[in-house]
Amino acid sequence: MTIRGRIVVAGVAQGEVLASAEPLSFWGGYDQRTGEIIDRRHPLSGCIAAGKILALPSSRGSSTTTAILLESVKLGTAPAAIITNEVDRFFALASIVAEELYGAPIPLVALEEADFDALSSGQHVQIFEDGIVEVQ
């Protein structure tokens, strides 16, 4: 399946999908030391998102989500890419600053709702520079 997404921050990535329909605050929700999702009320609680293609509708909650995502880039525990179903300014800012500071942006793609809903954990996807998401 090939999906055309909107490029939020361009980049290439591939890996296993970790998907949820529930938004996530990275502050209080993501352990930057391990890449574990630690919001104990979230369906992905306990899952490791480091190196995965994380699919979330958007972020939520704390303003510090951006800081935690940036810390995880520095520590090498960030998701390989994040797919959302709307442009998320918090993820975008973390990725833009990661590019400015470390030359290492996190690829971000926003999908239409139906396309987003078609993603599920365990799928293998490849993300291309032009926003194409290939689900294998």
Partner: protein, 396 residues
């Protein structure tokens, strides 16, 4: 400016606009990356262009030694505090800046970070800010500019979702826990919509609205809500919806509220290690409510009792005489930061009790603790008896 411009493009803004104040959440030390970002900016000689207050930091600058904070953390968190002060930010170090002299005015265009403060500024005061993430608030303060988009514009401030409280008894609406509990529910129901609540019909205090703002911005991404007949952009229902009809109407039942109340507690037993109050930071009015509950009493030796607040509010509490009962009770006070943003708790602290929905929401993930939610009086009574006591009649 490059960052602001890229964010404007992503947000679909075709121009930038001026702001006249900022509140900076970015000074919270979360690790080496945020420190590098801060020192990078201050090293370039950056200076804020508008009055900019500082949110909590990662350290009680002069009190951290009393707690389990590692010295290496303290040194870095303090460097980050210094970097933001060097850029000209005002070190009020509080997540309740709207209870200080830095409070914005109705209609003022500002760039605020800190989720609870954003909700309060927009909803309760009627100032105008987008939800600014950490790292962007300081860019806005330095340039004095933000994308002309989102909640800065009148048309984007209208409610589209109506929450009705037709079946909620007055004694529930007058209960202090009603505000954090309803806030938690509002955050869950809102999704991406701006909501208006109809039927509160009692006059909440500023601190009750503060508790609601902290809850609504923890369980959801709510940056603006309207309380019809209470908040300034919602004198009437027509006002809140800018003359249009709601797209969606949700009726709130007692069962919805009880379910939200239950979600705030994760621990089932009677055991507790610590009571912690003050997220958002405790106000003078809250110190004055707490003091008579503590008068002549002492905490149980196995239960710590902590209030988190700002330097300024601590001083006011001291001068008003409302701090001494807390000290005599065996309580402690932490300023500049809170239990979620500095690693101060000893690893033997497993169960916290609080009246704050924000502490309750984030402690299990951030601190790996269990939490019990209760009223201020429940928290005090539990600290005295050494076990969880909840006289939560209206919530049963």
């Amino acid at each position: 400016m490059k960052i602001i411009a890229r964010m404007a493009e992503l947000g679909g803004a075709d121009s930038l606009m001026d702001i006249s104040a900022a509140h900076i959440d970015s000074a919270i030390f979360t690790g080496d990356a945020t420190l590098e970002f801060a020192e990078h900016l201050s090293g370039l000689g950056a200076h804020v262009a508008v009055p900019s207050s500082l949110n909590v930091s990662g350290l009680d600058e002069f009190g951290w030694q009393e707690w389990a904070v590692p010295p290496e953390w303290a040194a870095k968190a303090q460097r980050q505090m210094q970097a933001y002060q060097k850029m000209g930010c005002v070190p009020i170090w509080t997540c309740a800046p709207y209870q200080t002299e830095m409070k914005p005015s109705f209609g003022q265009q500002v760039a605020w970070g800190e989720s609870n403060a954003i909700a309060f500024a927009n909803s309760v005061i009627g100032a105008r800010t987008e939800r600014y993430p950490d790292l962007m608030d300081i860019c806005a303060a330095i340039t004095g500019r933000v994308p002309a988009a989102g909640l800065h514009l009148t048309r984007n401030r209208k409610a589209t979702l109506l929450l009705q409280l037709r079946q909620i008894p007055r004694k529930v609406r007058e209960d202090e826990s009603f505000y954090p509990v309803l806030g938690l529910l509002m955050g869950t129901v809102a999704e991406n919509q701006i909501l208006a609540v109809e039927g509160i019909e009692v006059r909440p205090t500023e601190d009750q609205l503060k508790a609601m703002c902290a809850a609504v911005s923890s369980s959801g991404s709510v940056a603006l809500f309207h309380l019809i007949g209470i908040t300034p952009e919602a004198r009437t229902r027509e006002d809140a919806f800018q003359g249009e009809e709601p797209e969606r109407i949700v009726n709130v039942t007692m069962e919805d509220l009880r379910s939200a109340y239950r979600q705030l507690t994760t621990s089932e037993g009677e055991k507790l290690d610590m009571v912690v109050l003050g997220s958002p930071h405790f106000s003078l009015a809250e110190f004055q409510l707490l003091a008579p509950l503590l008068q002549g009493k002492h905490r149980h030796p196995n239960v710590q009792f902590l209030v988190t607040t700002s330097r300024g509010m601590k001083l006011l509490a001291e001068q008003s005489g409302a701090l001494q009962p807390l000290i005599d009770f065996g309580g402690k006070i932490t300023v500049d930061t809170c239990v979620l943003t500095t690693p101060m708790l000893h690893p033997s602290t497993h169960i916290l009790m609080t009246n704050s929905a924000k502490y309750s929401y984030y402690a299990p993930g951030l601190l790996n603790t269990q939490v019990v939610f209760g009223s201020m009086a429940d928290c005090v009574q539990s600290a005295i008896t050494g076990r969880v006591v909840r006289n939560n009649g209206v919530w049963r």
